[in-house]
Symmetry: D3
Subunit: 128 residues, 6 copies
């Protein structure tokens, strides 16, 4: 499969998880090397991981991605994937239930910070 296929496969997944709204985002550093950086990040996540589907459906992949992001304290990416979780069909309280499960594993301070991020997106979503 050609590299253009990798990119296409990644973009199809991004459309499915985040709706085509993601296409409006710019790139942090838009030189050739900066564009390579953005492309490799996208392909690693979406062509090499999410696009496999198989024994893990997209809703389950959403929960384990939220877990990984809460564990490493990645605030901006966590908000993005809470949006993805809702758009893939999770209820807001699924995210809260996941975060309760993670308290003993990742500790209270990390989960309080994660909930603060998530709640920002959940409240926005509730208002709509």
């Amino acid at each position: 499969m050609a590299d253009t296929d990798r990119t296409a496969r990644a973009e199809a997944l991004l459309d499915e998880i985040f709706t085509p709204a993601w296409r409006q985002h710019g790139v942090a550093w838009p030189t050739a090397t900066g564009l390579d950086f953005a492309r490799i990040c996208t392909e690693h996540c979406y062509a090499d991981a999410w696009a496999r589907r198989g024994s893990l459906d997209l809703k389950t992949r959403s929960l384990v991605t939220l877990t990984a992001l809460a564990a490493i304290g990645s605030a901006e990416e966590l908000k993005l994937h809470v949006r993805g979780a809702l758009s893939l069909g999770h209820a807001p309280d699924d995210v809260a239930e996941l975060f309760i499960h993670l308290i003993p594993y990742l500790g209270v301070p990390r989960m309080v910070a994660a909930m603060r991020c998530a709640a920002e997106v959940l409240r926005e979503h509730a208002r709509r």
Copy 2:
């Protein structure tokens, strides 16, 4: 609900996830304070988290627990919960598929270490 209920609720879950085999494990430091340590760890994980079930079934809780443990590099607990995942009905390749999903989020070295731990348990299981 009384504290004895918390303990009972935690132990019922441990039986369900790990089979009653877990009851043969000793305690690292068996003074009154050391026993409190062990009891609080068990109650936090099993009475306060796993026992809630609700919108997350045990098989899903197993995958997000494996994710959290891979993220913090907790080798012994990871092996324990790979055993739990198999006993809850996951196929060995579900664990491998989960770990592929996590490569871009947690990085190659952390996932190679997690796979090395998990494969030890998976090979043992395959031999039976």
Copy 3:
């Protein structure tokens, strides 16, 4: 002991460490699940840990809590517990002395970030 006792025990400690001012804080995500999240966080920290007192008095528990929060880079929780440390009777320079001790263990960048957070609270406190 009943669950209502756990909550009462946690709240008594919160009053003692932070003064009843903490009661004015809202909850990040106020559904039933979101309230469970907040209650479990509070009980784990204050009913299961701080309320034990015993061989570690509250002022010592304050210092080890600050250490744990600096180690995991938990900015908001660190500010909260610097306030707690002052209200429990620590001098502002006790925090600075603690942070000097931690430089070789946690590294300069983590401690510079922790000091930046703490100094915000310490300067506020000095102005009063």
Copy 4:
């Protein structure tokens, strides 16, 4: 060598890496203990590490410092050292190339966050 030599050695390096502009920065908590904190941080980094030069020149030390800061998610220090990297003669795309190299080792979310910080400094630099 006397302690005043340690301070002088550290300050000479700071001048070389960041230009004397760093001398305008204040100290987070300016009591005697707070000043000790700042001095020890500076001496550990610049008198004990950077000033050794030897088999690692300053440009290489810059790249490994950026790597360490990206790994621990130290946003403010990362911006500071991207400025240092440019002032020591690295091209902006050297930073982007370094960050591409680190994606598989530190994971996409950590590197996206690092690139967001770095790009802020790189765009500022490009505008001049």
Copy 5:
């Protein structure tokens, strides 16, 4: 103060915390650069941190050091400092009480791993 004073100051503290038994340990990589590595590690911890004493006595410094080491999952250093805690006058259960306090902050898996390390030293100590 001359560098030889830094070394002497660090070694006096090492004698006090660990008894002169530490002097029998070898160095991991005994070239000139490897010896510099060992010396700088020792001076940062013992001349720059522990030797300050001041508002934090050695027994308190012991508890916050154990906390930092549990937080970063540093098994070998944790065992060393559990030995130090006992030799400075802490009871074995002080360590267990500290670890109970840290469960909600650092999470169950990290503290179970820390207790496993500590219990090895505590059991050895109990046997004497």
Copy 6:
């Protein structure tokens, strides 16, 4: 470029960094999914990162890789890449010098653990 090119590009780099000796290593979990796991890890590191060369030569990539691995406490991967560093032409003391540089950034306990791993490989190498 086709996927077979990605694999070939990764393997050429592995030959160059580690000599073809790496080809004797088995795979942790040799099902189709387990082989995918291994292939993706290899391609992310060697086809997407190391093979770019460009403004960062292989010897520099070796140092920043060692830094990332020391930062995340990845013992087995660290030993592998110390072997790679020596085979790419670094002197043993280059590794020790790098580790001295990282003490203030990553903290003493992490670097003592990294040096313990590295020294195992360096002593083996010195014996030959």
